[in-house]
Amino acid sequence: MNRVKRTLAPYLLVLPGGLWLLLFFVVPMVTMFSLSLQQGDIINGYRFTGHWQNYLDAITDYRVQLIRSLVYGLITTVALIVMSFPVAYWIAFYGGRRKPTYLFLVLLPFFVSFVLRTISWRQILTDDGMLLHPLKEAGLLSPGFHILGTPYAVIFGLIYNFLPFMVLPIYVALERIDPRVVEAARDLYAAPMTVFRRVVFPLALPGVFAGVLMTFVPASSDYVNSGVLGSSSTTMIGQVVQAQALANSNYPMASALSFFLMAVLLTGVFAYARVLGTEDVMNAAAR
């Protein structure tokens, strides 16, 4: 009796939450996939017809926005790696007792709503705002100069909003490095740059990978930054999906676009994992 109880216990504990995830995460993915192959409209209803044409239409109609989103996501991710690494490095190796304080400061933006933070940047960067107005007055910028509405503004916003997601995993990987390994490299007369290139960076790669996973996918599918800081020439695929789903109620199209986007993003991430897979990281460390 007691043994039965004990083997049942984990299942009973998992059951309510597991059911919730099944019902509201797994099942929706299935309905989304099913809807992406349906035809019809909001008034007459949708019927499943195995309509792969939805995917072809989605890709041909929104090719530009799809490619743009991937390019923005890629630029953002690369910039994030370059910008975050020194921060994570400094906190991990020189933070000392203050490490938690520095991490807390990096996470500070999360205490303000994502939308509100982005709008705050819009206020700072606006054409005659607190940043550009004085520069224009001083004659340092031409009166027609603007940042808002350009791809730069959108990528700037993406980098800003996702930076903590890159710093944190790189920090965790660096923090785990045994100082004796670095010491050994130095004892063997490796120059500082060589120590970094051959020892520290390869050991930090799993953290970089985790950071890419946490930033590339959400950045490419984001629609808040482009909506607030961009213009019609920076429309990203997230905005298209949102408009198709909420304004046009074209659920099959929105579903097909989302599914295609997810497939592309996951393929990209897994390709990256293959190239920089754990084995390669080990090899790089051993070399």
């Binding site: 929706p28 989304m32 205490f111 994502f114 800003y160 500082p192 946490m214 909420l246």
Partner: protein, 276 residues
């Protein structure tokens, strides 16, 4: 920690010292950049704009703190957000603790699958989760509103709660539970009198995390809200016409409360750790 490793040569040492200073400066510049828009948000809650747009600095005032609840639909949006955050974080706390405890404590068939689904919910883009929930609710003929928002928030919070709880349960000293059992406590009593108080701080941080995720969420909410308006949705809708200073004040208060709670819990856990 700063200089534990002896440098082999003075040139290399100088290089590292200036490198260290450069890294230090750079890190603080990045932190300043991260904090800048927050400071602007706080500052413009004290601005006294003449017209409709709260864009440029026009004088100091604290009147928006007094007129905080003067915009009716903004206030009700904030209230809806708070109610949804409380309910969804408590629900996610209960469901997530169950999963986290089971994963940390037992080895069972299907644990891998549960882990996989948790990882998937934490790493899937919000856009995909939002649109898929929308298709589910539309296909099932469920009307969108506060209930569907809450369902969605519980869904994406569960995995975060269970991750935090699992981490605590793994480090749990089993001998304490065994001692309770030896003294004649049944499994139920042991759990509530011994185990639960130990994992309670982790459950609490999980619930706080879920609360923060819920009150801040825009994307998933956008797809599951229908005509219901939460605080982030109200801000989004008002962006084009210009945000009233009350939004800055509410943002400031939420920020202050969040930072305060984080600092207090951090200090308490640190002093507890020092006491041993």
């Amino acid at each position: 920690m700063t200089t534990t490793m002896p440098a082999p040569a003075t040139r290399a040492r100088r290089f590292r010292l200036t490198g260290e200073r450069a890294l230090f400066t750079y890190t603080w510049l990045v932190i300043a950049w991260l904090v800048a828009p927050i400071l602007i948000m706080i500052a413009f809650g004290f601005n006294n704009p003449k017209g409709r747009y709260n864009q440029t600095w026009q004088g100091f005032t604290v009147k928006w703190y007094a007129k905080l609840f003067e915009i009716g639909d903004l206030t009700s949006a904030l209230v809806i957000s708070l109610v949804i955050a409380v309910i969804s974080s408590l629900l996610a706390g209960a469901l997530g603790t169950g999963i986290g405890y089971a994963l940390g404590r037992y080895r069972f068939r299907g644990a891998e699958g549960v882990n996989l689904i948790m990882f998937a919910t934490m790493s899937s883009p919000e856009l995909i989760m939002g649109i898929s929930l929308l298709t589910l609710f539309v296909s099932a003929g469920v009307g969108l509103g506060a209930v569907t928002i809450t369902i969605a928030h519980v869904m994406f919070s569960i995995s975060f709660v269970s991750t935090v709880v699992r981490a605590r349960v793994i480090t749990l000293d089993r001998s304490i539970e065994e001692a309770a059992a030896d003294l004649g406590a049944g499994p139920w009593t042991t759990f509530w009198k011994v185990t639960f108080p130990i994992i309670l701080p982790a459950v609490f941080s999980g619930v706080m995390l879920a609360f923060a995720l819920s009150i801040d969420d825009f994307v998933v909410t956008n797809f599951t809200a229908g005509t219901t308006v939460t605080f982030p949705l109200w801000i989004w809708g008002a962006t084009r016409v210009g945000l009233p200073p009350q939004v800055n004040v509410m943002g400031t208060l939420i920020f202050a409360a969040g930072v305060l709670i984080a600092v207090i819990t951090n200090l308490r856990s640190r002093s507890k750790a020092r006491r041993g």
